[in-house]
């Protein structure tokens, strides 16, 4: 995988297409220096006030007996890019049919064991704080999701993505790409060795910063369990300011995206460790014992 990364991407022409609907026009000049503050952009205070109003309304609804929300709101205007990208009609209930009750099979034919270590993909050691991120993937019934694909991607320790559309003027790290994969074990376990990502600025509003996070992509044993999400680090001061994190209006639900520091899994003189379990939706299929044990989908190479 590392050799497939085109290093010319580092020097690619800046893509002026914004990465936020609210972004000011980027220019090649601006990309090479600290961009001038855009006085036209909305302030954090405006966004914080909007988020607080939505949070207060949710708290009031809860006091009036509304059920807890467990997922982000698709319609969450403080995340400006969501305004034209959320369905306005209710999701249509469907009973999953045959194909939806199964998942694509992934195995060690698809993923090499070394792909779970993001610190060995180049000739040297990446800069930053080395960490181990591990946990289990479970379905909604608490059953381990065995032999399934987990994919992650993230910014480097400076908060810079290798993606050509990230023109944040922080250093790229020639020893860090920020992409990893693994296949879960029989107990649903996964483990990645990586570098703690930095916070990075984005253009939702003026001086918007995302809390440090790792993107996770997960498959269950049924396609209806497919999910992409983000893992955060405990105690991040940017949580309260971030419209993407805040799009989950329920604090218990937000907490499910925050890893816990786990000193027992650290390695002396080498790496700190974080633990994060992921729960997919419940199974809708009648399972055989072999499937429950994860015999399917893993080619045992």
């Amino acid at each position: 995988m590392p050799e497939e990364i085109n290093l010319e991407i580092f020097n690619a022409d800046p893509i002026t297409e914004d990465v936020s609907d609210a972004a000011p026009e980027a220019t090649p000049q601006a990309a090479k220096a600290v961009p001038a503050l855009d006085t036209a952009a909305e302030s954090q205070q405006i966004l914080s006030d909007e988020m607080k109003a939505l949070g207060d309304a949710y708290a009031q609804a809860r006091r009036n007996g509304a059920a807890a929300e467990t997922q982000p709101r698709l319609d969450y205007p403080p995340y400006r890019s969501s305004i034209l990208r959320h369905p306005t009609k209710s999701l249509q209930h469907a009973d999953p049919e045959t194909i939806e009750l199964y998942s694509p099979a992934f195995g060690h034919m698809d993923v090499h064991a070394l792909e779970s270590d993001l610190t060995i993909q180049h000739n040297g050691e990446p800069m930053g704080e080395r960490i181990i991120v591990s946990g289990r993937v479970l379905d909604g019934d608490g059953r381990p999701v065995a032999g399934q694909l987990v994919e992650i991607w993230q910014a480097n320790s400076s908060g810079r993505y290798i993606h050509k559309r990230d023109q944040h003027p922080a250093p790229l790290d020639p020893n860090f790409t920020g992409v990893g994969r693994c296949i879960t074990g029989a107990d649903g376990s996964y483990s990645f060795t990586t570098i703690k990502p930095g916070a990075y600025p984005w253009k939702n509003h003026l001086n918007a910063w995302r809390p440090a996070h790792i993107h996770f992509s997960l498959f269950g044993q049924e396609f209806t369990q497919r999910i992409v999400t983000q893992m955060y680090f405990p105690g991040d001061p940017l949580f309260a300011l971030d419209p993407i994190y805040q799009s989950i209006v329920d604090q218990d639900a937000r907490d499910r995206l925050v890893a816990s520091y786990n000193h027992d899994q650290t390695k002396p003189e080498w790496a700190l460790a974080y633990n994060w379990d992921i729960v997919l939706t419940g199974s809708k299929r009648t399972w055989t014992e072999n499937e429950a044990l994860g015999a399917e989908g893993d080619d045992h190479e």
Partner: protein
């Protein structure tokens, strides 16, 4: 009924492009090979503009209606049909897959391809289906399609191109908004509302 509360989803963001795509990700079969067809369309936002930063996955039965359970989607050998594909859209919002027409998974069932959509600006993944247009009788009997008004139903049925391919667009919002699906029994998960009394996985 689920016993643990699912982990929330989050947007795929703008920077999946160096992580999720892989070689031949959209080629369930080699383009031009016997029986292969193109599935192509554009993702549009609520203003009718193409969305240039979306990524889709398809998952489907083979031509005989069998559910594939073979590994190798990420490292295609050129022969094994795994039923899974992934296509990021291009600058004009267009996605393309090379695949086969799925067969019916049960006698009389309307064949469809399962689709999941991710995008920057889209907080959580959206599930939908794209049905083959041919078998009117099967389409009329389909439980999902028959639950929809005609103009909504239309959004889930592909057009057959003269070359045998399928054309099918996704509209996230507004006129012709695509029908997106909620598979949870009570509508609880899709709407993000927790059932009363479920236990919390983290406690």
């Amino acid at each position: 009924m689920s016993k643990l509360t699912p982990t929330p989803g989050q947007t795929v963001g703008p920077f999946y492009g160096y992580a999720l795509p892989y070689a031949k990700d959209r080629e369930l079969l080699a383009p031009g090979s016997a029986g292969s067809i193109r599935l192509q369309g554009t993702v549009f936002d609520g203003a009718g503009h193409p969305v240039p930063d979306a990524i889709l996955e398809i998952w489907q039965a083979d031509a005989e209606g069998q559910v594939p359970q073979r590994t190798g989607s990420l490292v295609r050998d050129g022969y094994t049909f795994t039923g899974f594909g992934r296509s990021a859209v291009g600058n004009t919002g267009v996605f393309t897959f090379t695949t086969v027409n799925p067969g019916p998974t049960a006698p009389g069932a309307a064949p469809f391809i399962s689709v999941v959509l991710f995008a920057r600006g889209l907080m959580n993944r959206l599930f939908t289906r794209v049905y083959l247009p041919e078998n009117e009788e099967a389409l009329a009997a389909d439980p999902l399609l028959s639950s929809l008004e005609p103009e909504r139903r239309r959004t889930l049925i592909a057009r057959r191109d003269p070359d045998g391919g399928l054309s099918w667009d996704i509209r996230l919002q507004g006129d012709g908004e695509t029908v997106f699906l909620d598979f949870e029994g009570t509508g609880a998960e899709g709407s993000g509302i927790e059932d009363a009394g479920v236990q919390d996985a983290s406690q």
